[in-house]
C-alpha cells in the first residue's frame, strides 16, 4: 500500500508514489462519476464534516459531492458566520466537532498553518482544503490528474504558472507537486507578485509573459487574489491584463498543443481572455472541475482506509 499518510495537509509531506496512488485511484472514480449510477460505499458509515472558515462555493461543493458519492454522511459548517463570530478559538471549535466523532474533517482557513494546528488536536483524518497562502493539496492533485490525462504523462513537461504567485496556495502546492514529478517549472508574473527568494524553489522566473510561455506544454493561470492583497501590487487591472492576461497572441508562444488551466473562479478580462477560457480545444478548465471531484474521492477513500486500519489495530491491541 503506497499511501500511508494519516492526514492530507499538503503536497510537501507526500512522496511521489503516494501522489501516484491518489491519481491512479482517482482515474477509477472518474469512470464511476460518468455513470448514471454514481454510488460507492467506500465511506459508508463514516461522517465527513466540511469546515470552511473562508467562504467557498466550488471547493466545498466538490468535497460535498465527493463524500456523498462515496456514501459518507456529509455535514457542511460555514464557520465563517457562526461561533467564530462569538469569539470561539479555532482549537475550541475543532475540539467541539471532534467530540461528535467525525471521521473526515475537510478544513479551509485563511491563516497559513491553521489546518496543521487543527490536525494536531483531533483524532480523525484531516484534509486541507486551503490554508492561507500555504497549501491547497487537492487542487494540485486535480491539476496533476488533468495534465496527465491531457498529455499522457506527468513528467518532463514544461509548465508555466502565471500571475499572482505570492498570494497563491495553489501555486505553492503545484510547484511542490510538479517539482516532485520532475517537470520543468516556470513562474511568470510581475516582481511584486512573486514570493521572495523564489529562485531557490528550483524554478525559472520570468517577468515577460511571452518569454515565459515559450515552448510550454501547460499554461496554468492563477486568479488575481484581490481579497488577499493589502496594498497596491499592480497599477491597474487593465495594465495587468495587457502585460500578463492570457490571450491568443501570448498563448501563441507556447507549444501548439499547449493546454490552458485555471483553478477558478476566473476574473475574465483580468488574467484570462474570456473567449480563450471557453475554447474547448485549448482550455481544460471544465476538466479540472471534473477531476476535482474524482481526486477528492480518491484522497478521502485512501485516508479512510488508513483510518480504519489504524482503529482496527488499536482495537486489536486493547483485546490482547
Amino acid at each position: 500500500m503506497a499511501f500511508r499518510a494519516r492526514h492530507l495537509l499538503g503536497i510537501d509531506h507526500l512522496a511521489p508514489p503516494e501522489i501516484l496512488a491518489i491519481l491512479d485511484l482517482a482515474e477509477r472514480y472518474v469512470e464511476l462519476n460518468r455513470r448514471t449510477e454514481k454510488r460507492s460505499d467506500a465511506l459508508a458509515g463514516l461522517t465527513q464534516i466540511n469546515m470552511f472558515f473562508e467562504a467557498s462555493t466550488r471547493t466545498q461543493a466538490s468535497f460535498e459531492i465527493a463524500g456523498k458519492r462515496l456514501g459518507a454522511d456529509v455535514m457542511n459548517m460555514s464557520v465563517a458566520q457562526s461561533s467564530v463570530k462569538k469569539g470561539e478559538t479555532l482549537i475550541d471549535t475543532a475540539l467541539t466537532l471532534n467530540a461528535m466523532h467525525p471521521d473526515l474533517l475537510v478544513v479551509r482557513h485563511g491563516a497559513s498553518g491553521a489546518v496543521n494546528l487543527l490536525a494536531e488536536k483531533v483524532n480523525c483524518a484531516v484534509l486541507n482544503a486551503g490554508d492561507g497562502r500555504h497549501e491547497h493539496p487537492t487542487q494540485a492533485l486535480l491539476d496533476a490528474l488533468t495534465i496527465r490525462r491531457a498529455k499522457g504523462k506527468l513528467q518532463r513537461l514544461t509548465v508555466a504558472i502565471c500571475g499572482d504567485i505570492a498570494h497563491s496556495r495553489v501555486a505553492r502546492s503545484n510547484i511542490l507537486l510538479l517539482g516532485k514529478m520532475e517537470n520543468r517549472i516556470r513562474l511568470v508574473g510581475p516582481p511584486t507578485l512573486m514570493p521572495t527568494r523564489v529562485g531557490e524553489f528550483g524554478v525559472e522566473v520570468f517577468e515577460d509573459m511571452k518569454e515565459g510561455l515559450e515552448g510550454a506544454d501547460v499554461v496554468m493561470m492563477l486568479r488575481l487574489q484581490k481579497e488577499r492583497m493589502d496594498g497596491g501590487f499592480i497599477p491597474s487591472e487593465r495594465e495587468y491584463f495587457h502585460r500578463y492576461g492570457l490571450d491568443a497572441e501570448k498563448l501563441a508562444a507556447a507549444k501548439e498543443d499547449a493546454i490552458v488551466m485555471h483553478p477558478g473562479p476566473m476574473n475574465r478580462g483580468v488574467e484570462i481572455d474570456g473567449t480563450l477560457a471557453d475554447d474547448i480545444n485549448r482550455s481544460v478548465i471544465q476538466d479540472q472541475v471534473e477531476m476535482g471531484v474524482a481526486v477528492r474521492m480518491a484522497a478521502m477513500d485512501l485516508l479512510a482506509r488508513n483510518l480504519r486500519a489504524e482503529r482496527g489495530r488499536a482495537a486489536a491491541g486493547v483485546m490482547v
Binding site: D12, T89, L90, I91, H109, A111, S112, G113, A114, N116, L117, D131, G132, R133, H134, E135, R169, R172, P195, T196, R197, V198, E200, F201, D230
Partner: protein, 423 residues
C-alpha cells in the same frame, strides 16, 4: 558576616580574563579577591564552579500592571534569581504603560516588596506609547527611570521622536529604540526568504531593521542623545551600527538571546513558541550577530523575556502573540555560544553583565573590590533537558522546551545575600 568563596573560576569581563581564585563578600560588597580567608568568615569550597558578575537584563516584560496572570514581580524575580540575573530592567509596555511618575512609583514599590533580585524600570518615551507626545522625562528620571523606550512600538513621526530625543539629551537620559520600519514590518510573522515563502507566512524583509536603525542614527546625529538599539538581529544593520560608533555617536546596541541561538527554520511546522519580535532570522544573520557580540560591536545580550499565556499562543501562527520567556534559559542558552567556541566566558559576561550595567549607570556588572556583591555561581558544563513546566515563570512559553542544554546556575547573590541556590 562575611562569606569567602574559594576554589572558584573567576570570570572578569572588565579585564576579559578568567582564572581560578577566591572571592570575599562582606557587607554586601565584594571585599577582596584574595585567597586568604579573614578570621570568622564562612568559607565555602566551590569545587571549581564559575563565578561571574550577576546578569543585568535590559528589556524584561513583567506584565504588572495589567496582565499579572502572565507574570508578576514575584514570579519574575524568582525566575530571574534562578537564572543568575541580579538586576532586571523592566520594560514599560505594560497596560497601562509606565508613562507617568505615579505609575512608576507604583511599580517601583511593588517590585521592592516582591522580588528577591533588583528591579529597575524603563519609562515610556511617549505618553501611552502612542508616539504623539513625550512623557514627563524629567519627573520620570527623578522617580528612578533608567531609560526611555516605547518598547517594540516605533515612534513613526520623526518630528515627535526628534523632540523627545532633544529633550532627553538635555537631561542626559538614555533613549532605547526598536530599529524597524513599521510600514514594512506591519503584519509580518516571519523574515522574508525561502522558508517564509514556502510556509506562506506574511514576512518582512531584514532591510526594515536597517532602515529603522538608519533613521534613528540620523536623529541621534541631529540631537546628540544617548541611544541604545534594543535588538540588532540582521547582518545588514551591522555596518550602519559600526559607522555610527566610529563617528563617535553615543550609540550602543543589544540583541536577544533567541536571535543568537535560533533561526527561522526552528519555526518548523508553525510552532508559535518560536514566534518572537522581530521574527527569527536566517542562519547567516544569526552567525553575523554572534560574531558582532564576540567582537564587541553589539554591546548587550538580553533575554527580551516576554510572557504569553497558552491561549495567546494556541492560535494559527500569524494570529498568535509574539514573544518568549527567557529569564531562566538566558544563561544556559548563552552557554551554547561558549561551548560552540564563538566566544569565551569573559566576552559573554561583558555582554550579559558589564556593558548593560555601564550603559544604564548601575553599579553592578563588575568583579572588583568595592563593587556590589551581585554574583552568579554556575556550572558551565552541567547538562540537562529543559522541562517548561518546571520553570518558575508563570508563563511557560519557551522555545527551548525539551531542548538539551548545558550550564546550570548553582547560586545567585544580590547585595551579598544568597537569593537562589543552596551553599
Amino acid at each position: 558576616m562575611s562569606l569567602h568563596l574559594t576554589n572558584v573560576r573567576l570570570i572578569d569581563p572588565e579585564k576579559l580574563a578568567e582564572g581560578s581564585g577566591a572571592l570575599l563578600i562582606e557587607d554586601g560588597l565584594i571585599a577582596g579577591l584574595d585567597t586568604q580567608a579573614p578570621k570568622g568568615a564562612r568559607v565555602v569550597d566551590c569545587g571549581g564552579l564559575c563565578l561571574a558578575p550577576g546578569i543585568v537584563d535590559i528589556g524584561v516584560k513583567i506584565c504588572e500592571p495589567g496582565e499579572r496572570h502572565k507574570e508578576s514581580f514575584r514570579s519574575a524575580g524568582l525566575a530571574a534569581a534562578a537564572g543568575g540575573i541580579t538586576t532586571i530592567v523592566a520594560r514599560p509596555d505594560t497596560d497601562p504603560a509606565i508613562d507617568s511618575p505615579e505609575t512608576l512609583e507604583f511599580v517601583t514599590r511593588r517590585a521592592a516588596e516582591a522580588s528577591p533580585v533588583r528591579i529597575r524600570h524603563m519609562a515610556a518615551l511617549t505618553k501611552g506609547r502612542a508616539g504623539r507626545e513625550m512623557t514627563e522625562i524629567g519627573f520620570l528620571l527623578d522617580a528612578g527611570a533608567v531609560a526611555f523606550s516605547d518598547g517594540d512600538r516605533v515612534v513613526t513621526n520623526a518630528k515627535v521622536l526628534s523632540r523627545a530625543m532633544a529633550y532627553a539629551k538635555g537631561l542626559g537620559a538614555l533613549v532605547i529604540g526598536h530599529p524597524q520600519d513599521p510600514s514594512l514590518s506591519q503584519g509580518a510573522a516571519a523574515t522574508s526568504g525561502k522558508f517564509a515563502s514556502l510556509r506562506g507566512l506574511p514576512a518582512v524583509s531584514p532591510m526594515a531593521e536597517r532602515m529603522g536603525l538608519d533613521r534613528d542614527i540620523a536623529l541621534v546625529e541631529m540631537t546628540g542623545v544617548r541611544y541604545h538599539a534594543d535588538q540588532i538581529t540582521t547582518s545588514r544593520a551591522l555596518p550602519a551600527l559600526e559607522r555610527a560608533k566610529k563617528n563617535g555617536f553615543d550609540v550602543t546596541a543589544g540583541v536577544s538571546i533567541h536571535h543568537l541561538t535560533l533561526n527561522e527554520l526552528d519555526v518548523g511546522d508553525y510552532r508559535t513558541f518560536f514566534k518572537v519580535k522581530p521574527p527569527l532570522r536566517s542562519e547567516d544573520d544569526r552567525l553575523a550577530v554572534v560574531e558582532a557580540v564576540a567582537s564587541g560591536l553589539i554591546d548587550v545580550i538580553s533575554s527580551m523575556h516576554t510572557p504569553q499565556d497558552e491561549e495567546s499562543k494556541r492560535l494559527p501562527f500569524e494570529e498568535a502573540a509574539a514573544g518568549a520567556v527567557a529569564l531562566e534559559t538566558l544563561l544556559p542558552a548563552a552557554m551554547r555560544l561558549v561551548h560552540a567556541g564563538a566566544m569565551d566566558l569573559p566576552q559573554l559576561f561583558r555582554a550579559l553583565s558589564l556593558n548593560p550595567a555601564r550603559r544604564l549607570g548601575l553599579p553592578g556588572g563588575r568583579l572588583a573590590e568595592g563593587a556590589p556583591a551581585d554574583l552568579v555561581l554556575f556550572d558551565r558544563d552541567a547538562p540537562f533537558v529543559l522541562d517548561r513546566f518546571k520553570m518558575l515563570s508563570k508563563s511557560k512559553n519557551t522555545p527551548f522546551d525539551g531542548a538539551k542544554m548545558q550550564g546550570k546556575v548553582r547560586a545567585t547573590f544580590v547585595d551579598g545575600k544568597q537569593v537562589f541556590g543552596d551553599l
